[in-house]
């Protein structure tokens, strides 16, 4: 399976602080990948390494099999939407499309114009006077119309109102359905990602906590509740992600490859949001045994 992004022990340090450390990922192509984590976790750093804006301090990263931003051909394969959708405030919508047409050999002018019409954007309106949602949509148009193989979106909906957010995601999903494009998008809101993503990476405190296809992750995690017990007494092969106790009851979120046979436990399924929250709450000092589910 080809990789959209592949990293090996990737790390980035600014002066004394590591923004990203020990990051080993194999993100397969053909998915919509959600990169989730609290602010400052390293999401933007990872995406900036993927677009070539930053160079790694340690380790390696390959995007679509090549070094990021290795040349015009590589740049053409990756579409990027930076945080807050930077556009030229004084340039009208139509000139932004011309920018795309002049700077990208693979530019699909029909697609761009259809999108702009459907979005009801006035071609003569300057980008600085567009609403937040419209700016995000225009920036997405620019990224999508060059027909990339991979779309990288850094917190594309973070500052949008709920309606604009929904419309943006609708648009994005339509583009994914129409073109065979992989997407990596980051967000600190999990609910944004639940519907759209079928592969998830949780990044907390500059480290990857868990990564894998959503279906596999949901199938491998269970919520166990039962009489109070020491988590260490669980059988091997069962990793405890989070635990909480009252004086009589223990509730555990576990990750296991096999079925839970102990009848003392009441087993229930975990939603994606609860799953990601549990990983995000893990203390940083805990050793992480990362298994990437392929």
């Amino acid at each position: 399976m080809t990789a959209a992004i592949e990293t090996e022990a990737l790390g980035k340090r600014y002066r004394t602080k590591w923004a990203l450390a020990g990051c080993t990922l194999f993100i397969p192509a053909g998915h919509v990948v959600g990169l989730v984590g609290p602010n400052g976790a390293g999401k933007t750093t990872l995406l900036n390494l993927a677009t070539g804006e930053l160079a790694p301090t340690t380790g390696t990263i390959e995007v679509l099999g090549n070094r990021p931003a290795a040349g015009p051909a590589q740049l053409a394969r990756v579409g990027y939407l930076a945080q807050d959708a930077p556009l030229y405030a004084g340039l009208p919508v139509a000139d932004h499309l011309r920018l795309g047409a002049h700077l990208n050999p693979g530019w699909d002018a029909d697609l761009a114009h259809r999108r702009v019409e459907r979005l009801d954007l006035d071609p003569k309106q300057k980008a600085g006077t567009l609403s937040g949602g419209q700016r995000a949509q225009l920036a997405l148009t620019l990224a999508v119309a060059k027909r990339p193989e991979l779309l990288v979106l850094d917190e594309p909906v973070a500052s949008l109102d709920p309606l604009a957010r929904r419309e943006f995601l609708q648009d994005l999903m339509e583009s994914v359905a129409e073109q065979e494009v992989s997407v990596v998008l980051s967000s600190h809101l999990i609910s944004d990602l639940e519907r759209a993503c079928d592969y998830v990476i949780v990044l907390v405190d500059s480290r990857v906590r868990v990564a894998g296809p959503v279906d596999d992750l949901l199938a491998a995690h269970h919520l166990l509740s039962g009489p109070r017990r020491d988590p260490a007494s669980l059988p091997a092969g069962m990793e405890v992600v989070s635990a909480s106790h009252t004086d009589v009851q223990t509730t555990l979120l576990v990750r296991t490859s096999g079925p839970v046979l102990d009848p003392a436990w009441t087993v229930s399924e975990v939603g994606l949001e609860d799953l990601m929250l549990a990983y995000m709450k893990q203390p940083a000092t805990r050793r992480h045994h990362l298994e990437v589910l392929k």
Partner: protein, 369 residues
């Protein structure tokens, strides 16, 4: 990329075109009267020694208000236009460097639009190449256009000065401190350097306004230092010694009794650029004080005359100093070095511009945060 460069540069190009047009209009409006004055001055048909007298007359006439003045209060329009146009040429490279160069990269970094443009299907190298080439050449062309327009307008003045016209406000020679940098090809070098300096400052400082300030400061420093210490040393200076009279020097008093001799002619080298002049005795040693005997020439001339204080009698002072065997040692560049100096200084600034540009390419491609 050329379309994008033009589109982003469009407003600045229009401003420059408007400024050039306004400049041209002012020059055209004032040129014809000056040209007819020149034609009727007799300088077209003069020969030999008679020319310098006629030339001086013409220049004095031009600068003293006997020409037509459009401006009230008796201000002389030719003087104003001349010096304003020189000012424009001196300032043009700084303006393009500050307003075209400094924001080039800095604005993209500050607003984040570099994340849009440098992720399209072109490399940063190509982006910068097109931007530097097109806008840099535009800066050079605009500055040189101002210079050429002014040279056309001031042609009569230049010819008169060349024919020996002196004693007027226009009479700085080609090597004059405001003439050398505003004529010939030096404006090209300054424009290229100021632009490259602006771009580099913007890349390092990453915000337009501070970059503009830094560009102005550094460019101004260069424009002050180069004429003082680099331009005179681009070629070895020639030396000669002349009598005080022949060198047209005047003895002027520094803190008495310090001796300062300011020569204005190099005998046998018309149009030379005098770089240094100092008093030397018969043995060639430097003399920096007025001989004691001449002190009296100073005090003789001092005193009150009908209630006002007059300075020392300059002729007596000159004669006294000369009688003591003091001559003037002049360091100069001959007139024939004008174009070599122009080329050397322009080459110097162009080399700096290229070095700065190379640095920008290197730094732009070095991946950082």
């Amino acid at each position: 990329m050329m379309w994008l460069t033009w589109r982003q540069f469009r407003a600045q190009a229009i401003t420059a075109a408007a400024a050039l047009a306004a400049f041209a209009i002012v020059l055209v409006l004032t040129e014809s009267r000056m040209a007819s004055m020149y034609d009727s001055s007799g300088l077209l048909t003069c020969h030999g020694g008679a020319c310098s007298g006629l030339a001086t007359t013409f220049l004095v006439q031009l600068s003293s208000g006997q020409g037509v003045s459009f401006i009230p209060f008796g201000a002389n329009v030719y003087v104003i236009v001349y010096f304003l146009s020189v000012l424009v040429i001196l300032v043009a490279p700084a303006i393009t460097g500050i307003f075209w160069g400094a924001p080039l990269i800095a604005r993209e970094l500050e607003t984040g639009t570099f994340r849009l443009t440098w992720n399209q299907s072109i490399t940063r190298t190509r982006w910068l190449t097109v931007k530097l080439a097109l806008i840099g050449l535009a800066a050079m062309a605009v500055t040189e256009a101002f210079s050429l327009l002014q040279a056309w307008w001031a042609a009569p003045i230049g010819k008169a000065v060349g024919l020996g016209g002196g004693a007027s406000i226009f009479s700085e020679g080609r090597f004059g401190w405001f003439v050398f940098p505003t004529h010939g090809i030096t404006p090209l070098g300054y424009a290229a350097f100021a632009f490259a300096l602006g771009v580099t400052a913007g890349l390092i400082i990453r915000r337009p306004i501070p970059a503009m300030a830094a560009t102005l400061a550094i460019f101004a420093a260069f424009q002050a230092i180069v004429p003082l210490w680099i331009r005179p040393n681009l070629f070895p200076t020639s030396q000669t010694t002349a009598t005080i009279a022949a060198s047209g020097a005047n003895v002027s008093l520094g803190a008495n009794p310090a001796l300062t001799l300011t020569a204005s002619i190099v005998p046998g080298q018309p149009g030379a650029w005098i770089i240094s002049s100092e008093g030397v005795n018969a043995a060639g040693q430097r003399v920096s004080t007025i001989p004691a005997a001449c002190q009296s020439a100073i005090s003789d001339g001092l005193g009150s005359h009908r209630g006002t204080t007059v300075g020392p009698d300059p002729v007596a002072l000159n004669n006294c100093v000369a009688r003591h065997g003091i001559r003037v040692a002049e360091g100069y560049q001959p007139a024939s070095h004008y174009w070599p100096l122009q080329l050397a200084e322009t080459g110097f600034y162009l080399a700096l511009a290229l070095a700065l540009a190379w640095y920008c390419f290197w730094r732009l491609n070095r991946r950082r945060s």
